[in-house]
Amino acid sequence: MIVGFASNLYKKYEGSTFEILADTLFSALDVAGLNKDEIDGLFLTALPGTFDSYAALHFPTTQIAQYLGIKPKFTTVFDYGGASALSMIYHAYKTIKAGEGDTIACIVGGKASDIRGKGVTVDAIDKAYPDVSLTPFDRLFRGLNDLNPVSDYALVANRHMYLFGSTDEQRALIAVRQRFNAQNNEKAIYRDPLTVEQVLKSSIVAEPLRLLEIVYPIDGFHVFIVSKRASKSSLRPIEVLAYGEAHWTVMPAELDDIVYTPAVQSAKGIFDLNKVDSFELYDSFTITVMLQVEDIGLIEKGKGGEFFEKHDTTYLGDIPINTGGGSLNTGQPAYMSGGVILEEALLQLNNMAKGHQVKDADTVFLNGIGGWNRAHSVSLVLGEAK
């Protein structure tokens, strides 16, 4: 039912966010062989500050439908940050199977360059826009000097090293492997070969995380068209084989420990991992990937570093992970990596991943992590129904 998809990624797009969105949507519709008037559902995720410098869009789905000139029967905003893209696909399938719609456009992206230009990130947007509430406890939080989400994941990485003895070299290896996978990915902005030494020599942003372990925020959109009208699409019929989501919304300081993600819960028992041909895991940082190989159950907790030493995780390897190089190498559109990993999964499943294709990729396991301080995890398995 995923009948079309497209992306447009730019380091810095000089025009309006609405332009990139519309152009990407039209490209995805072309692949699907559908026109915009056939869209009856609009699924969207939007983060503060990523639409033309405005802190927020008032009624975002209305504004987007207004610009596109479409009249959807229903619209929904997904609020899981980078994990939203995966959730949209599941809910689009469910909606269509329930007979409530025929064609749903799932839209993820925006412009990161405006916020990037202010020297902040979307999770530290309070440093650029004073009237933003980050938590119900802002009065006791916003007086602190942080650099979320980098500092949040840095706390996790340091504690992971302390509890389990994981190393800077092990995290660096994740960046190196992903770069290998990115070498032939035409969407990647970073494609030169990379060594562990180069990662370790890159500047420290928030100890222990270094520059080459951190995504670069960019401008762009991913659009996925889910429809029961598949006759004009040449894409393979893909089913949702398994799905799980989990939300740990407390302040991480109120968790028993910070080294677990909600993927522990969203991925638990949903699918036999031995039957997976490639894994597309959220890669905002190297540590994010290390946490997920543990939390989705590829290896026991604490051994994520050793996992990357033991297994070849390139697209040619025994356990391929982030086969196109991930958002660490394409850049992260509007501070969300979900569209990047979802597009890569679809390229793999449709044998379209030129230069980074996993042989006979029939089943892909995706995991998205998103929200302020890792609150949300969405696990999704895509493949052809047997």
């Binding site: 119900p136 007086g143 602190l144 000097n145 840095a154 500047s203 928030a206 300081a253 109120e254 910070i258």
Partner: protein, 117 residues
Amino acid sequence: MNLDEIYAKYDKIIREDSSLPYIKCNNCNSTFFYPRHFCPKCGSNNIEVMRSSGIGKVFSWTKIYRKGDKWIYGIVELEEGFKVYCNFTEDIKIGDKVKVKVVPKDDRYYSIIASKI
């Protein structure tokens, strides 16, 4: 106690001697720092604002480098059983014993600062 009353008590404790306030649930004995007008564990309204010793251990930390500036940021686990985000005044390691102080940053926000003891 509603949230405004809780914040007023927090503010009083902070302005008296830079102590760290927290909330204790008299029903289930759990403690928490980030204020709700009920206990997030058991839901009871039988809660009380307390003054922490401020003594705790570093739970995790990071040193942030930004435009020539450096800040140390992290989480401290207090001896009363709750954890808080804070900035540190000096280099620390996980497990180091620290004392946490709170000072008003302006009339709305507070700085939470920990130093080695």
